[in-house]
């Protein structure tokens, strides 16, 4: 069965080609030798003697007599300490000037963790950003995307969190990344000295679509191995919408019936199998996943953000350069915010509720209604909240952010107007 070569292509549709072959296994890799060079391809369907292959470099340039050599194995990546400081393409070829790494090949897209082996996450990841630490605390082993639209500084935010978080290894998976953004990440990690503990798998917008599909699996397979070596790993995936769009492209080529706006019916399962790689291994390391999901038309009901929101443990909604309190959520915050400070939860809930009332008052104001005393208080409050709490350019510890919260409340309201339990206002309300 070793390395049989076939050179009669039955069908070429988009990036999918069909050859007649036998003894081929589902998921097997093949080398496709087309006019413009060699590409890897993967078996995605078997039908009698017909073998459907997805060509990573795309179908363009593949001829009816292109050579196909089956490799007898599924997709693998190398894993070793030597990956650190290195940059690769979506299919694992060096993108920097370094040597190719071929040692210790590992399978990608491995099985999921047994839920019975998981533990409840318990470590807060401090970012110094009040909108995160105070209102939507990030937790080690969490999976959390930044929802945003093109033009917002989501990659900057991603890099900022990555550099402020205390982690051992950073794995960046870039999908459809603009070349400038790729350089931005590289330089940012380099400047801060983090590059030597990072590995980057980057698919840029000009690379073949199918390579984009491999990025999350490769990045996460490598992350998993590091985590099993007791490392706290942070995986950055940007932009998962590009990943989903590549899936859509392939699904349409395969004539699958789309479920929603052209996306395949298994979009949820596909995204979930990647995001669920986030884990805290008991007695060993962890994987935390921060991703970017751009929302076409700022529409959170678009299938990609929508399915993502159902999978991830919350999301940071980045809009106008700020993390919006509405729409942002950390589902794991309650695992840790009972152990930070007594007043954390109360400040978190109250400030958001009041901010929501402020928004209503703004609406009334824009309709030209008279502002009551209460409205005036809310207006004052809302402005302070936006200016002092919502900015992402600051770097303050949680405790200071909480103190700041009390000060804003005290400057705007009487304790009873906040609805905070008396035992807390007695203790924390600023005097004088």
């Amino acid at each position: 069965m070793q390395n049989k070569v076939y050179h009669r292509i039955e069908q070429i549709t988009g990036s999918v080609i069909v050859v007649k072959a036998d003894g081929v296994i589902n998921g097997e890799l093949a080398q496709v030798e087309a006019a413009h060079g060699m590409s890897l391809a993967q078996v995605i369907r078997l039908e009698n003697e017909n073998v459907y292959l997805q060509v990573f470099a795309g179908g363009r340039g593949v001829s009816t007599d292109t050579k196909v050599r089956f490799l007898g194995r599924t997709m693998q990546v190398p894993f070793s300490e030597n990956l650190l400081g290195r940059i690769f393409t979506g299919s694992g070829v060096p993108r920097d000037k370094g040597p190719a790494i071929t040692e210790n090949m590992i399978e990608i897209g491995g099985p999921s963790v047994n839920p019975a082996k998981r533990i409840i996450p318990r470590n807060m990841v401090r970012t110094g950003i009040p909108m995160i630490d105070l209102f939507n605390t990030l937790v080690e082993s969490q999976k959390l995307p930044i929802f945003s639209v093109a033009g917002e500084p989501y990659n900057e935010l991603l890099a900022q969190i990555a550099l402020q978080a205390e982690v051992d290894v950073i794995v960046l998976g870039g999908m459809g990344l603009k070349h400038d953004d790729y350089l931005f990440f590289r330089d940012k990690l380099d400047e801060s000295g983090a590059l030597s503990r990072s590995v980057m798998f980057v698919h840029t917008a000009s690379d073949p679509t199918v390579e984009c599909l491999l990025v999350p699996d490769i990045a996460l397979a490598v992350a998993e191995k590091f985590a099993l070596q007791d490392k706290r790993v942070l995986v950055l995936l940007t932009d998962m919408t590009n990943f989903a769009d590549s899936m859509k492209e392939v699904a349409i080529t395969m004539e699958q019936i789309p479920s929603n706006r052209g996306y395949p019916g298994d979009l949820y399962s596909q995204l979930a199998s990647r995001y669920e790689k986030a884990v805290d291994f008991e007695g060993s390391g962890s994987i935390t996943i921060l991703a970017v999901t751009t929302m076409p038309g700022d529409d959170v009901t678009h299938p990609v953000p929508d399915n993502t929101g159902y999978i991830t443990e919350g999301q940071f909604y980045l809009k106008n350069g700020r993390i919006e309190p509405f729409g942002s959520l950390s589902r794991l915050k309650q695992q840790v915010n009972n152990r930070t400070r007594d007043d954390h939860r109360a400040i978190m809930d109250t400030m958001i509720q009041l901010y929501s009332s402020f928004k209503e008052t703004l609406e009334k104001q824009s309709m030209g209604f008279r502002m009551s005393d209460w409205d005036s208080k809310l207006l004052k409050y809302g402005e302070r909240f936006e200016a002092e709490m919502m900015t992402i350019t600051v770097n303050v510890p949680l405790e200071k952010a909480l103190d700041n919260g009390w000060r804003i409340l005290a400057d705007c309201f009487h304790p009873s107007e906040t609805g905070i339990a008396t035992k807390l206002t007695d203790k924390f309300w600023p005097k004088g």
């Binding site: 929508d306 809930d349 209460w374």
Partner: protein
Amino acid sequence: MSENIGKIVGVNGNLLKVEFNMPVIQNEVAYACVGDLRLKAEVIRVRGNNAELQVFESTTGVKVGDPVEFTGDLLSVELGPGLLTQVFDGLQNPLPALAEQCGFFLQRGTYLKALPRDVKWAYTPALKVGDVVVAGDTIGTIPEGLFAHRVMVPFKLRGKWTVDKAAPAGDYTVEETVAVLKDEKGNTADAKIMQIWPVKMPIKCYAERLRPTESMATKLRTIDTFFPVAKGGTFCVPGPFGAGKTVLQQIMSRNAEVDVVIIAACGERAGEVVETLREFPELTDPRTGKSLMERTIIICNTSSMPVGARGASVYTGVTLAEYYRQMGLHVLLLADSTSRWAQALREMSGRLEEIPGEEAFPAYLESVIAAFYERGGVVRLNNGTTGSVTIGGTVSPAGGNFEEPVTQATLKVVGAFHGLSRSRSDARRYPAIDPLDSWSKYPSVVDQDNVATARKLLRDGNEVGQMMKVVGEEGTSIDNFVVYLKSEYVDATYLQQNAFDEVDSSNSVERQEYVFGKLLGMLKTKLKFASKDDARSFFHKLTQACRDWNSNAFQSAEFKQTEEQMGKMLAEVSDYAE
């Protein structure tokens, strides 16, 4: 080893096309053999001499020509003592045992017995030779944690049987025969402690189905008072992501006044199940004084686990629920989320190239959902006792839009609808059950007329609130404004409930009756204020006091003190002129 061997001729995702020569049965279990691995699969369509099989595992490495063993058995579960406290995957593999064998990761092709074979159970017979029995009758009992687990006449037997042999009291494993039965024609049947039952078939060994009328307290005020659930009833919780579906189910799984809770974590986050898994053994159930885990079974087929087994997970869950119902127990099955199961159906339907319905869901979606919820119900068993299966499913509508097929199909068949709203969860008004849209066909734990009064006030308050957006506060009369403030007060102090406060998170029916009575008194009292600002500031203070009250233990000294304080506040503004 089976005789009936087929041959793989096609692989498309988790769908296999298999050529066969001997008869195959629709929905029978088969194993695809890949090297040393045997991957479990189910026949889902047969055409000519090709069977299509859904594999419950990843099909990587499968090739054309690989053999497939057909078993002749439908997809089934094991029923017997030892189910409680367990954590299974959708196919009833015990996950903790699997972890012991395989470590951190799931290993495909590894299937373990659901019930341990080496454990001996203390069995006491309830029958003697010569007794006449029918399917579902008690043969004997075994103490299983909180309950006397009933060993029953096999559910599959038809007609009357006479006990021919009855095992004496003693210690037996689940595979041992405890009675031999004989029918009129002289056929004999062995009754073992363990039964095996196909998951897609309802267990129907009861005298009659009754109407669900008795409340099942959840200790959540919004539900028990306004949108109650009955034992043997069905309810659904649709809502966009992050609105609080899972938290709501977690709260119910702790608080619900039932004997057994089965949690089917279907295609959602593993982390959420882990919370239950790790916390329940530590939590005490106030009803029994034992750990919550003792009354719980977790079926866990989370989103990254094989899609095929996802659908199986809800059926496994409901079959186990029916089994405990047969023992005269009240069982609550919580499924989170039924949409993931519907999506699994959709994925398979797509691979089968069936003609798609709305949003590419298969045309039979509605009937499948209806048949599932139909398995809920309260029944009178042959021995006169009652048992029930209550089913609550979350629905995760695409884009949060309730007009989509799964929500609509579910709404048609359930008895209560707890709709979660994005605007409520954004404003942190938890539980985010929409008080205007939600409904229930079951009776409230408090007086129904009073509920109607409170609901009317909520509607009126909402109307005033909407009007105010158009005409402003200045264009609203003070009376209307007070209606608005009252409705906000009901929301803030009764509908909203702090899930993280030890006291507030769970309100007994008794407390709900008491507090709701007080609340209604306030609503009916005419209040007098000099200005709207005065009115607002009064309600701010009353709200704060009532929230304090909510976290005082029922009828404690503090509770009475806060109540008195609230009474005084109210007296100051009450208008007794009329």
